[in-house]
């Protein structure tokens, strides 16, 4: 259990920095702010899943077919997040969220 907590902590540290620093509640920018928040959360979860998939691939607990399917799914999800970010006028590399004293989400 401690190993898993340590792994989760490292994951959180690695991904700190993904959600927007703050959500813009100005009526003019609320749509973009909300999109940034949602896409950052999706990207956060995608990165967690990706790390887990890589660990399982390295650990030999996935079949070749499963590796192919999960890899393709994660690749397409990454591409979709970037596509949606650009559609909302966001730089995909800026998807992040400040978490105060503990840093950023991604």
């Amino acid at each position: 259990m401690e190993d898993e907590i340590g792994t989760l902590r490292r994951e959180l540290e690695r991904v700190r920095g993904v959600l927007p620093d703050r959500v813009d509640v100005d009526p003019e920018g609320v749509e973009q702010g909300l999109a940034k928040l949602v896409l950052t959360l999706v990207e956060f979860l995608r990165q967690l899943l990706e790390r887990q998939a890589i660990r399982r691939m390295d650990g030999g607990t996935l079949t070749d077919d499963e590796i192919e399917r999960v890899g393709l799914a994660l690749m397409r999800l990454e591409a979709k997040v970037r596509e949606l970010a650009e559609a909302f006028g966001l730089d995909p590399d800026d998807l992040n969220l400040g978490l105060g004293p503990i840093g950023k989400l991604l």
């Binding site: 890589i54 691939m57 890899g71 994660l74």
Partner: protein, 232 residues
């Protein structure tokens, strides 16, 4: 609609500038031991890059006059009553922060990787297969983890070399693909230039990165967590 654009918090002052951004009236809103300085703003709350520079210039004037806390650019308050409520609700915390930070200045260090990957090289191209994608991401993660480790070591080295107290430094490792380290340090107003000079020498001795030292300026990075919702 009239709103207030906040600039800084000071101890109660008997006077100060009267003109805010774009020549609009600068309000001095008192509550307890503190004053909040804010531009009275009629019309659309749309701000420009020039407004950001003007906000910084105004803070510099207020901070030159005495201890003050800069407020993040773009902080809107609905009206004078909500501004006063915010000040009253956080009176002790703000007053303590003015006393601790108000007469200090911030020096910022940014370390840029000399070998940062180009946007094209950051691995967003389509991989030929699902396995290839995961293998590529594994390699990218390894590089990212290694860079973060190097950046943390650079931070610890600089903090040690510059002999900065833990409470007087903020940092972020690898905030972007190009930046290894973003670091802010506090110094007394009369010691800030000397700290900047020492920091410039220290970053110049680090290999593999290009160092940029800026400031001194008001302690923006150290007041961000003091923000409170003023109802705007």
């Amino acid at each position: 609609m009239t709103r207030l654009l906040a600039h800084a918090i000071t101890r109660r002052a008997t006077g100060g500038p009267s003109t805010g951004l774009r020549g609009r009236p600068l309000e001095q809103i008192a509550a307890g031991e503190l004053d909040l300085w804010a531009t009275r703003w009629d019309g659309e709350p749309t701000l420009s890059r020039d407004d950001a520079f003007a906000h910084h210039d105004l803070i510099a004037v207020l901070c030159d006059a005495g201890p003050c806390l800069p407020v993040r650019f773009g902080t809107w308050l609905n009206d004078e009553a909500s501004a006063r409520r915010s000040l009253e609700a956080e009176q002790d915390r703000f007053a303590a922060a003015v006393d601790r930070l108000g007469d200090r200045r911030e020096v910022a260090i940014t370390l840029l990787w000399l070998d940062a990957p180009s946007p094209e090289g950051r691995g967003h191209a389509v991989a030929p297969s699902g396995r290839a994608f995961l293998e590529r991401q594994r390699a990218l993660n390894a590089v990212t983890d290694e860079r973060r480790s190097v950046a943390e070591a650079l931070f610890e080295g600089l903090r040690r070399d510059l002999a900065v107290d833990q409470a007087d430094v903020r940092h972020e490792s690898c905030p972007s693909a190009e930046v290894a380290l973003s670091m802010s340090l506090l110094a007394r107003r009369d010691a800030a230039d000397a700290l900047k000079a020492r920091a410039t020498v220290a970053v110049g001795a680090i290999e593999g990165v290009r160092g940029v030292v800026s400031g001194p300026w008001p302690p923006y990075s150290f007041t961000a967590d003091l923000e409170t919702d003023g109802g705007g």
